[in-house]
């Protein structure tokens, strides 16, 4: 197992190198440059040329790439945002915790409802509950996230005023401390239940919107997996031995049915951590997604390169963790 992990970690080097090359050339393939994007009506040809000259954007691409990599290794950072003029690493430090919190909340929602829904649907196979779960999971997958986000927000925040519509925290909560930037964790560390509840309230709507697709996928995979497993020989044997149906479901059906679900959860977690651009935009949630959206509009090369490189690293690491967890959950799996 240790050898497996080390080998996977070493593989990160060529993966990240490949991603950095692709990203570098992809962002430069976008039409226009930061100068034209940022200066708008004021982007006279002279200003644009001066800008390109100063920032080396008139240099050959390979030269720009070498310089970019040199800066990463020499200064140990990912550069500076063209639009906000802040260090990309600083911005990641501020925004990634928000995205992590939202991703975890969305995943709790998706797993908390998706697995029971899928399991019950499989147990009531063909019945109205099963049909209903299929219908709702289809809707969950088909409805665009931003439509659901706007709808949820309109009903629960604007019309009913039950939940907040924007941000991570009530801005009048001046007592809240943020030692880690993970607001839920911060509220727990500082033993501040009011802030904890406030932060959770801000997470509910975006987490539901963001978690709807993973929920639908998890419910469907769970259903299919339970349907497969419950016809296995060992399940039939357990039933034949007179074991109580609940215990059969719990020990033999669900435990084995959850193995493929674990992989899906891992993959979905990777996607959620990659930044929820639409959800974060609708709820003005200050995470990685809204930051990258602005970077695309602004042709903010350092942010796009650094931010996406970082997310690629996260994605690969999450998948590594999932692979390891898979072996932990299922001792029959051996990595070599």
């Amino acid at each position: 197992m240790v050898r497996f992990i080390v080998r996977r970690l070493l593989l990160l080097i060529p993966i990240l190198f490949g991603v950095s090359v692709l990203l570098f050339f992809w962002v430069r393939a976008l039409p226009g440059s930061p100068a034209e994007s940022l200066l708008g009506e004021r982007a006279t040809p002279a200003l644009v040329e001066a800008y390109k000259e100063r920032y080396g954007l008139d240099q050959p691409l390979w030269k720009q790439y070498v310089e970019y990599m040199q800066t990463i290794f020499r200064d140990r950072d990912l550069g500076v945002s063209v639009a906000t003029h802040r260090q990309v690493t600083d911005e990641i430090g501020q925004r990634f915790p928000a995205t992590v919190e939202l991703a975890i909340a969305a995943m709790i929602f998706a797993v908390g409802f998706g697995i029971p829904l899928g399991f019950i649907a499989a147990k009531r196979y063909g019945g109205p509950v099963d049909q209903g779960s299929l219908f709702f999971s289809l809707i969950g997958i088909s409805v665009p996230i931003f439509v659901l986000a706007i709808l949820l927000k309109y009903i629960f925040a604007v019309r009913l005023a039950w939940l907040p519509s924007v941000g991570r925290i009530d801005l009048l909560n001046f007592d809240a401390e943020h030692p880690t930037n993970f607001y839920v964790l911060d509220a727990i560390i500082t033993r501040d239940p009011e802030t904890l509840w406030d932060v959770i309230k801000h997470l509910i709507l975006p987490a539901i919107a963001l978690g709807s697709i993973p929920l639908a996928i998890i419910a469907r995979i769970t259903r299919a997996s339970v349907l497969d497993v419950q016809n296995e020989d060992y399940v039939r044997t357990a039933r034949a031995k007179g074991m109580a149906p609940r215990i059969v479901d719990r020990r033999h059906v669900l435990r084995n049915a959850l193995l493929p679900v674990t992989t899906v959860i891992g993959l979905q977690m990777g996607f959620l951590l990659s930044g929820a651009i639409l959800t974060e935009t609708v709820f003005a949630y200050p995470g990685m997604g809204s930051w990258l959206r602005d970077a695309i509009f602004n042709r903010d090369y350092p942010v796009l390169q650094g931010g996406i490189l970082f997310l690629a690293l996260v994605f690969v690491l999450v998948n590594l963790v999932v692979d390891v967890l898979y072996a932990v959950i299922n001792p029959r799996i051996r990595y070599s």
Partner: protein
């Protein structure tokens, strides 16, 4: 065991949802307004870039720096009339180049150091001596726009500096000498970019440290991020990127103290999200209310719409270097062929007036009696026949996609209406559209767009030169050809320091522009802001930098 854990997780989620919904209760409980009597929460569109006003050029940064810093002169709130600020009065010598500012006494910066003539000169000299990365347009756009160049220009595109010297005659008198006469100088000093900052704090927190890394200017000192120090009615308390900028009242402010103890500026990029936050009471005021959302604010009994005085112009640009547009008769035919009244009436939600000139009517130099081109298809066709171009006269017409500007909320709608009216008037229009950022603006600015194109401008400071000078002084590829007579007039206008004489020069320029038709201005829009009705004392500035010190909570 696992099933049990999963069931518990599901139950917890369900409980959280139900409890969240239940405990949030009524709107008044959910809304933060119940405990917010001394704090204004205001929504902008994004974070500020940073908080050294000399180094920023965006409205969101100026929104904050305007509260922290002050300039020598300012506008009377809600107008473009210059009024004393840190300078009690000023005079201009006969040479038109020497400005003597009599400064307020007893004023202190937020760090406790005194504001005086030495501080004023330190700021002017700082701007003038910027070097290296600070000479980049993204760092010192406004300095370069107004002052032209630096002590030692490091870029061939920079011009000769307007500034020459500053002398502290005594503690309360600063004498600023310019290299040449310049009419817009005083009006441009209103810009937050020319705020007076504490020299001590700037030195202490590294305001003049900056570098270019990975293609971007980056201030390496802490000043611009966490220690901006001015004389204004508010000072910076905290800034959490993506979340809020918190300003607190300056208890030692020299003038009438700010009425609210705290201002929180919250960045909400999405237009609809900003309006919804206003509706839910999560913010109490917001800027950049899109015209299509005005009705949703107006129809809410708790909210109101404020108007920002119009300070922009939308126009159909004409590239005179491309035949047949090199013939003034064809350009006039375009002017008669554009149904501007219809566009303004149909697509601006009643928040615009038809433009006849390239500058807003509020500025000195606006001429009421210019040639006006009311929609007249027959006249247009006659002119085209006289010019030997059709009808139909084939022309290309460009418009941008993926953009909504204050002066042009729906470019496609404007374009379609204009196209229809031009076709009715003897033109055959070939359509081209492309994304605003970055393609469209690039083509318009380097003169490679079509015969006609939709664009506009929002003024930076209250001077005719910031409109007519930007468009027509010197060669502007956008309009194709240089008009020597107009160029000369605008040079005179820029150099004239007698404001009455300047106004006369710009009136003459406006008459000439209307005759030559280098483009067709069609709308001055009135940007909207949304507020809760209980917010009082908010004055909207034409140039967008509103002061919060007069704001207070009143009844509904």
């Amino acid at each position: 065991m696992r099933v049990k854990l999963l069931s518990i997780a599901g139950a917890v989620m369900a409980c959280l949802l139900v409890a969240g919904v239940a405990s949030a209760g009524s709107r008044s409980e959910a809304s933060p307004t119940a405990t917010s009597g001394d704090t204004l929460i205001y929504a902008g569109a994004s974070d500020p870039t940073y908080l050294d006003p000399a180094l920023v050029s965006d409205g969101e940064s100026f929104r904050i720096t305007k509260q922290i810093f002050e300039s020598l002169v300012d506008f009377i709130p809600g107008t473009t009339k210059i009024t004393p600020a840190l300078a009690r009065s000023w005079s201009v010598a006969k040479d038109g180049r020497t400005y003597t500012f009599n400064l307020r006494t007893g004023v202190k910066f937020h760090d406790g150091t005194p504001f005086n003539a030495a501080a004023v000169c330190a700021n002017f000299n700082r701007w003038y001596n910027f070097s290296g990365p600070f000479q980049d347009a993204s760092a010192t756009y406004y300095y370069q726009t107004v002052f032209g160049g630096f002590r030692k220009n490091e870029n061939s595109t920079l011009g000769k500096p307007l500034y020459q010297s500053c002398r502290a005659k005594n503690a309360s008198t600063a004498v600023v000498k310019l290299a040449r006469r310049n009419g817009p100088f005083l009006a441009s000093l209103v810009l937050s970019a020319f705020s007076i900052q504490s020299p001590t704090a700037m030195a202490r927190w590294g305001a003049n440290q900056g570098t270019i890394r990975n293609g971007a200017f980056y201030p390496t000192g802490q000043y611009a991020f966490s220690h901006p120090t001015g004389t204004g009615p508010y000072r910076l308390q905290s800034w959490r990127v993506g979340e809020s900028v918190v300003l607190v009242r300056n208890p030692s402010y020299w003038g009438r103290k700010a009425r609210l103890a705290r201002i929180i500026i919250r960045p909400i990029g999405d237009n609809t999200a900003r309006v919804q936050a206003l509706q839910t009471g999560e913010v109490y005021g917001m800027d950049l209310l899109a015209p299509q959302l005005v009705a949703s604010v107006r129809n809410n009994s708790n909210l109101k719409v404020l108007s920002r005085p119009s300070f922009n112009v939308a126009y159909v640009g004409i590239n005179s270097s491309k035949p047949p547009m090199n013939d003034v008769r064809v350009r006039r035919a375009v002017a008669y062929g554009l149904n501007r009244q219809l566009v303004v009436r149909s697509f601006y939600a009643g928040r615009a007036q038809v433009a006849h000139e390239f500058m807003p009517p509020s500025l000195p130099g606006y001429e009421k009696n210019v040639t006006k081109y009311a929609f007249n298809p027959q006249r247009s066709k006659d002119l085209l026949r006289a010019a030997g171009c059709g009808p139909p006269c084939k022309i290309s017409f460009w418009y941008p996609t993926g953009v909504s500007r204050p002066y042009m909320p729906d470019p496609k709608a404007n374009f379609e209406a204009f196209k229809a009216s031009l076709e009715q008037s003897g033109f055959e229009v070939e359509t081209t559209s492309m994304p605003w950022r970055p393609d469209y603006v690039k083509h318009v600015n380097d003169g490679t767009a079509g015969h006609l194109f939709l664009i506009g401008w929002t003024g930076d400071y209250a001077d005719a030169d910031n409109f007519l000078g930007v468009f027509f002084q010197g060669y502007n590829p956008q309009f194709g050809e240089r008009n020597a007579a107009l160029d000369k007039l605008l040079d005179r206008g820029e150099q004239e320091t007698n404001q009455a004489k300047r106004a006369a020069i710009y009136k003459q320029a406006n008459r000439l522009i209307a005759q030559q038709v280098p483009g067709v201005p069609y709308a001055h829009s009135v940007p909207a802001l949304g507020f809760q009705k209980r917010i009082r004392g908010y004055f909207t500035s034409p140039i967008g930098t509103d002061l919060f010190k007069t704001v207070f909570f009143g009844g509904q």
